[in-house]
């Protein structure tokens, strides 16, 4: 009898939690912009995951290209071919993998640095805060692209370096936002209570501050991914990407270098550009939708 009551109580609470989760999911699904963004992203993520099935790497061989150079779109090559006779569709599909991978990796680095600096500055305050924030300001005002170009040139050309460079130039915004939130969190009574418990700094930050800034970091992540993908394209377009892998930026670069514009080979130029725009749009739309869900004041009544 007692056990039955306990179980039903637990079941009721679990149901309540599932309902809360569903209501967040429901809010998201009723947000047209968010759903459109999510749909775009799902298509591209699937494309990236199954890239090797959809466009086997063998077909991207430079020496053994399947078609003639710069063929216009046809039934065989839906998006035409590049200057070496490779299918542009295959290139774009393969490129999605690198673009998304670098985007996510760069975002992870950016979030890690941003969260670390933001939490440290916000929690410890005083001169730690002053120094870290001036450091952040310094990164914030440095012209972003030249810094990325210089870093990429110095550190060399590989996927990891590109991700690192993007991470280094995008973290200051996150650091600022996280710091602001930590400043309010550390004055909350439960942090004082944790201190009264005898908790040390590590415990307070790890168990009480971080879990509470996490939603903010998460919402920020989505928006940073878009910036990271765009930056990756920019750097690759400028020839600073990894020369051994195909990304949307590097496709644009070779199209530009081969004179696709003056040759009227629009099929070489437009698809990768469109992909970049769509993915960035997808992330931004999802980001705004999450913002609205996390901040009820932004919801439409």
């Amino acid at each position: 009898m007692n056990a039955g009551a306990a179980r039903s109580g637990r079941a009721v609470r679990r149901a309540r939690r599932v309902k809360a989760l569903r209501s967040s999911a429901g809010l998201f699904s009723r947000n047209k912009m968010g759903m459109a963004g999510l749909a775009i992203l799902v298509v591209f993520i699937l494309m990236a995951v199954f890239a090797d099935v959809l466009a086997p790497e063998a077909r991207l061989s430079v020496t053994n290209a399947p078609g003639a150079p710069l063929e216009p779109p046809s039934a065989r090559f839906w998006l035409g071919t590049d200057e070496l006779g490779r299918s542009v569709l295959d290139l774009v599909i393969q490129g999605s993998q690198i673009s998304l991978l670098v985007g996510f990796l760069a975002t992870a680095i950016s979030m890690l640095i941003g969260a670390l600096v933001g939490v440290t500055a916000g929690y410890f305050g005083g001169w730690v805060d002053v120094i870290l924030m001036r450091f952040t300001d310094w990164f914030l005002v440095i012209p972003f692209l030249p810094l990325a170009i210089v870093l990429a040139a110095i550190l060399g050309q590989s996927l990891l370096v590109i991700a690192l460079v993007i991470g280094i130039v995008t973290w200051p915004g996150t650091a600022r936002v996280v710091r602001a939130q930590v400043l309010t969190l550390k004055e909350r009574p439960y942090v004082e209570r944790a201190r009264a418990l005898g908790a040390g700094k590590r415990q307070i930050i790890g168990r009480h501050i971080l879990p509470n800034v996490f939603p903010l970091i998460f919402a920020n992540t989505i928006l940073v991914v878009a910036v990271a993908i765009l930056t990756e394209a920019t750097l690759s377009f400028l020839g600073l990407g990894d020369p051994f892998s195909v990304s949307w930026g590097s496709i644009l670069e070779s199209a530009f270098a081969e004179g696709a514009i003056s040759l009227g080979a629009w099929w070489y130029l437009i698809p990768p550009g469109l992909c970049i725009v769509l993915v960035v749009l997808g992330f931004t739309m999802c980001g705004y939708a999450f913002d609205e869900i996390l901040d009820p004041r932004l919801r439409k009544r």
Binding site: A6, G9, R10, R13, R16, R188, P189, Y190, E192, R193, A194, R195, A196, L197, G198, A199, G200, Q203, R207, H208, P211, N212
Partner: protein
């Protein structure tokens, strides 16, 4: 009875505000023995909570502490951070004002109690969680609710969890800072009964901080009334609450209607004015500008805390009455 658990002597807490040092606690002596229940009463801004935070070494950075505070014979003022952290909760724990906010909203309440145990004792998570369930049971909460989040509790239940948490490490002293504020009267009575019952079962000393004298009547043996950072009257709860001698205590007691005395019901007397700014303490007795019975020496000479039989008071009027 003769307090050796907590010995506070001439304790001062100074807040540095815009270059000036303002004493929020200004020379307090207070002692508590094992199992004592002492109430600290006074209106907002008289230094009660500052005193409580000082016991745990939790004052903000702009505060300096002077004087002496010994817990179980060891000095707390100026103790190293490591020792302070060991003392917190295992020696002195606290029931916070407004339990609504004293919980991390994204952690299950049970885990937050377990956290307290694990911080101080070398026990497995399983043992700690077993103890947490026991504490919940003792505090009148169904142990299965340990898996809930703070928002799923009512104010009274949350205060019960807070009390369970305060007892987690079996501390000899629990400080309750406004334990019943923002609770309705029925729940207040339940919480106070719980505190009194736990005190009896575990021989815990209680330091109850409140502006609500009815709380003290229910749980405290001894009451100290604070005004402007000092104790102005101290005595047994029964005596002080029925026959207060210091005009300030009288005003505090007079602000409540007495149950069973219909005459007092219509006219709870108030006391106009606010306690003085700690940075600008009036000369003489700090209370004289608001005192209804201030007379000649009050605005010049600061009365010291003197013993009158079993009671202590700092007032020229009490002095004069005692002489007559």
């Amino acid at each position: 009875m003769n307090g050796n658990l907590l010995e506070i002597q001439d304790l001062r807490v100074l807040y540095e505000v815009r270059g000036a040092k303002a004493p929020a606690v200004d020379g307090v002596d207070l002692s508590l023995g094992a199992g004592d229940a002492v109430g600290l009463a006074g209106e907002s801004g008289c230094g009660k909570s500052t005193l409580a935070l000082a016991c745990l070494g939790l004052l903000p950075r702009n505060a300096t502490v002077e004087g002496s505070m010994k817990f179980e014979g060891a000095e707390v003022v100026g103790a190293k951070p490591g020792r302070l952290r060991a003392l917190r909760w295992a020696g002195i724990s606290m029931v916070f004002q407004g339990a609504m906010n004293a919980f991390n909203p994204v952690k299950r309440v049970g885990d937050q109690v377990v956290e307290a145990i694990l911080l101080h004792e070398d026990v497995s998570k399983k043992e700690a969680s077993g103890r947490m369930r026991e504490l919940f049971e003792h505090s009148g909460i169904a142990p299965r609710r340990a898996e809930d989040y703070p928002y799923e509790f009512s104010g009274g239940m949350r205060q019960r969890v807070m009390i369970a948490m305060a007892l987690a490490c079996n501390p000899p002293l629990v400080i309750a800072d406004e334990p019943t504020t923002a609770l309705d009267v029925m729940i207040q009575a339940q919480i106070l009964n719980l505190l009194a019952q736990l005190r009896e079962e575990r021989n815990i000393a209680l330091l109850i901080i409140t502006h609500d004298l009815s709380v003290l009547a229910q749980v405290a043996d001894r009451v100290a009334v604070m005004y402007a950072g000092r104790i102005v009257e101290e005595g047994s709860a029964a005596e002080l609450l029925t026959t207060p001698r210091h005009p300030y205590s009288r005003s505090l007691v007079g602000a409540f209607p007495v149950i069973g005395d219909p005459a007092s019901r219509g006219v709870p007397t108030g006391l106009p004015g606010d306690p003085p700014d700690p940075a600008a303490r009036p000369p003489g007795c700090a209370f004289h500008p608001r005192c209804p019975s201030a007379f000649e020496p009050c605005d010049r000479i600061d009365p010291s805390l003197k013993r009158y039989g079993p009671r202590l008071a700092a007032c020229h009027l009490v002095d004069r009455e005692a002489e007559v």
